[in-house]
């Protein structure tokens, strides 16, 4: 304690000495003192900046498309969902105590399996300058799939997914997207093995795609990858070596459809005509029947009305009605010919030319 006091006293004494004898300080000491003073100022500023940087580094921002996990001494702060920090400003302790791990979650990620596709590059595909197909496929470089009928097809699948469980996806797998790709490869392989080439390429393309997605989804769940499948697209084509023959099959199928469509058109026309004819027959029968019955009933009524008058003088009635009818009929008749009796009392011979003989025909009519 005394030592300290003594030291303080000495220090004060020195200050007094400085004030008393400023003229004794040489120029070098003064320059050194000034340089030290400037250096201390710089150090103070740097330290101030470091403290500010230290404080600022305790805050961090999480974007809307991501989640963050704070690892404190390597261990997540919180458990399960509680360990995941959402969008906004958050606090942490400085490194190496706390470490921030950012995990993209909202954005859709994609993997494409081209294990079943022939050798090509994206540049060649885009430019349409792919190498011509050889007589066979080299498994070292060309990918292809075996179908259930032991045929060969090419298929390429793209799986879009998003991360549903960021902890599983990030901390359980060293390369999660590659693990997803492996699953997609397997799904494509498995599905092709259960579909015939025709089904995978032509008849059931949609079902083929659905089956790939179904298998991939099941495997992803089984392997706990922590992702949810958004959609899956599959592009399948026959081997390029068989393009011509597959085109011929397509043409044959189109012709078949055309032939059947023509037959269906004929069938529709025929049956519709028959239905129309049948309706005509029935309608005619109904109208004939109606007319017949109506006329007969009318005739019966007429008969009942006439009968008393007829009974009075049948001959006169007949004469009167017949002449009346003939008179009425003659007004409508276009041509009327009267042939008087021959003077010799013999009947007249009347020849009628009903139709002219068609020109150019012989006696037999040919």
């Amino acid at each position: 304690m005394n030592g300290h006091d003594h030291h303080d006293h000495d220090h004060e004494h020195e200050h007094e000495h400085e004030h008393e004898k400023p003229e004794t300080q040489d120029a070098g000491s003064q320059a050194l003192a000034e340089a030290l003073g400037s250096s201390f100022t710089i150090v103070k500023i740097v330290m101030g900046l470091m403290v500010a940087g230290f404080i600022i580094s305790c805050f961090f921002k999480v974007g809307p498309q991501e989640k963050a996990v704070i690892l404190r001494f390597g261990k997540p702060v919180g458990q399960g969902e509680k360990a995941l920090l959402g969008a906004g400003l958050h606090m942490r302790l400085p490194y190496p105590i706390d470490e921030i791990v950012r995990i993209p979650v909202a954005q859709i990620q994609q993997v494409t399996s081209d294990n079943g596709w022939y050798f090509t590059t994206p540049e060649q595909e885009l430019s349409g300058e792919e190498l011509p197909a050889g007589p066979d496929l080299n498994p070292q470089i060309d990918g292809f799939l075996l179908t259930s009928d032991t045929n060969i097809i090419h298929a390429r699948a793209t799986l879009a997914y998003h991360v549903a469980d960021p902890l599983d996806y990030t901390f359980d797998f060293a390369d999660a997207s590659n693990a997803v790709l492996n699953v997609l490869d397997n799904a494509l392989l498995y599905t092709a093995a259960t579909f015939s080439a025709d089904d995978a390429l032509i008849n059931a393309r949609a079902q083929f795609q659905d089956a790939v997605q179904e298998r991939a989804t099941a495997l992803l769940e089984e392997e706990n990858l922590g992702v949810v499948v958004d959609y899956c697209t599959v592009d399948s084509i026959p081997p390029r070596q068989l393009t011509d023959i597959f085109n011929q099959v397509t043409i044959a199928r189109e012709k078949r459809s055309e032939t059947i469509n023509q037959a269906v058109s004929y069938a529709n026309q025929t049956t519709n005509n028959a239905i129309a004819t049948a309706a005509g027959i029935i309608n005619l029968a109904q109208s004939t029947e109606f007319n017949y019955v109506t006329n007969l009933v009318a005739s019966a009524n007429q008969f009942k009305d006439i009968l008393p008058y007829y009974k009075q003088d049948p001959s006169l009635y007949i004469q009167q009605t017949f002449v009346s009818m003939v008179g009425g009929a003659l007004t409508n008749v276009e041509d009327k010919w009267y042939l008087p009796q021959r003077a010799d009392g013999k009947p007249r011979e009347l020849r009628l030319l009903l139709n002219r003989e068609p020109p150019g025909t012989n006696a037999a009519g040919f």
Binding site: H7, F73, G74, D136, N138, G143, T147, S148, T150, N151, I152, D172, F173, A174, D175, N178, N182, L189, Y190, A193, T194, D198, E223, Q241, L242, A252, K255, R256, T259, I260, Q262, A263, A267, T270, T277, A278, I281, A285, T288, Y292, V293, L296, A300, F303, K304, L307, K311, T321, V326, G328, N332, V333, E334, D335, K336, W337, Y338, P340, A343, R348
Partner: protein
């Protein structure tokens, strides 16, 4: 002066603590596993994240490994099935370090070395499983006949058994087929077969189209004939009903059949003499009989037009 000493002490203490922590403490991060060795002998397994302490080097050392599942893919090789079909198979697997203290000495802590050993095991197990199955286990129209999952499980079990027996400290988490292909020489013959099958399909499509068209047309013709026949039958029924209804009226005419007969004939004649009719009479037909029954100076008149 006191304040400055306190600050100096604190700074000194902090520096000492930092140095001490660097020497005596270490962190195991989430998804990491570690093994602590004492004079290179593994003495402690660490599979949980956190802050741990150890004796300083060279007494103790810490070896940290990635505890996450690693992807592995075996090499491309040809395998023969039980029914003598050549297949080229590739499999993928996911593995992780389950016991760092056994993993470290076996592989000198080298993940690439472990991967190499695993690839060999996978290849052997794969060949054994493939050679005990037929081609129909790999490709089959009936999914129930397909042995994909079963074969994958067998390979995984076989490899896992070897890993456990050798105490490699590795766990095989999952496994699956990645590629199943045919040798290059076989693809050519498959193409030839596929061409033949397409030719059959083309021929079949053509014949099938003609057959179906004929069936459709003949069916339509039959339906049309039946429809008209049914219509004729219906028409006959309708007319039959009409005649039956007419029969109820006929007794009225029986009161004087001669008159009825006359009226019906008169009606029929009236209907027959419509427009555009040419009538030729002689003088015996009333009322033209008047031309002969009434006396006149001209015995025979010229025919009227």
């Amino acid at each position: 002066m006191k304040k400055k000493n306190i600050v100096s002490v604190i700074i000194g203490a902090v520096i000492i603590i930092i140095f001490a922590m660097l020497l005596f403490a270490f962190q195991v991060r989430y998804a990491q596993v570690a093994v602590v060795t004492t004079f290179d002998k593994p003495v402690r397994n660490i599979d949980q994240p956190g802050l741990y302490f150890k004796w300083p080097w060279p007494i103790q050392r810490v070896y940290k490994f990635d505890g996450r599942i690693q992807n592995i893919q075996d090499k491309f090789n040809e395998t023969i099935t039980r029914d003598n079909n050549d297949l080229i198979l590739t499999i993928y697997a996911g593995w992780k370090i389950s016991n760092p203290s056994t993993f470290y000495p076996k592989f000198a802590g080298s993940v690439p070395r472990a991967t190499e050993i695993l690839q060999g095991m996978l290849r052997n197990a794969k060949n054994a499983v493939v050679s005990s199955n037929t081609l129909s286990a790999f490709v089959n129209p009936d999914p129930r006949q397909l042995r994909f999952d079963e074969m994958e499980q067998k390979i995984q079990d076989s490899v896992q058994a070897q890993l456990s027996t050798n105490d490699y400290g590795i766990q095989l988490v999952f496994l699956g087929f990645k590629k199943i292909e045919l040798p290059q020489s076989v693809t050519q013959s498959v193409f030839d077969r596929m061409k033949g099958e397409r030719q059959v399909i083309i021929s079949s499509e053509q014949n099938e189209g003609a057959k179906q068209a004929t069936i459709i047309k003949s069916t339509a013709d039959r339906i049309a004939t039946e429809t008209i026949a049914n219509a004729n039958a219906t028409a006959a029924q309708i007319m039959g009903k009409g005649y039956a209804q007419a029969a109820t009226v006929l007794p009225i005419f029986e009161k004087d059949p001669a008159l009825a007969n006359y009226l019906l004939r008169l009606d029929a004649l009236q209907q027959a003499l419509g427009q555009k009719t040419t009538l030729i009479f002689d003088e015996r037909t009333p009322p033209f009989d008047l031309f002969t029954s009434i006396p006149t100076n001209a015995p025979h008149a010229a025919p009227a037009q």
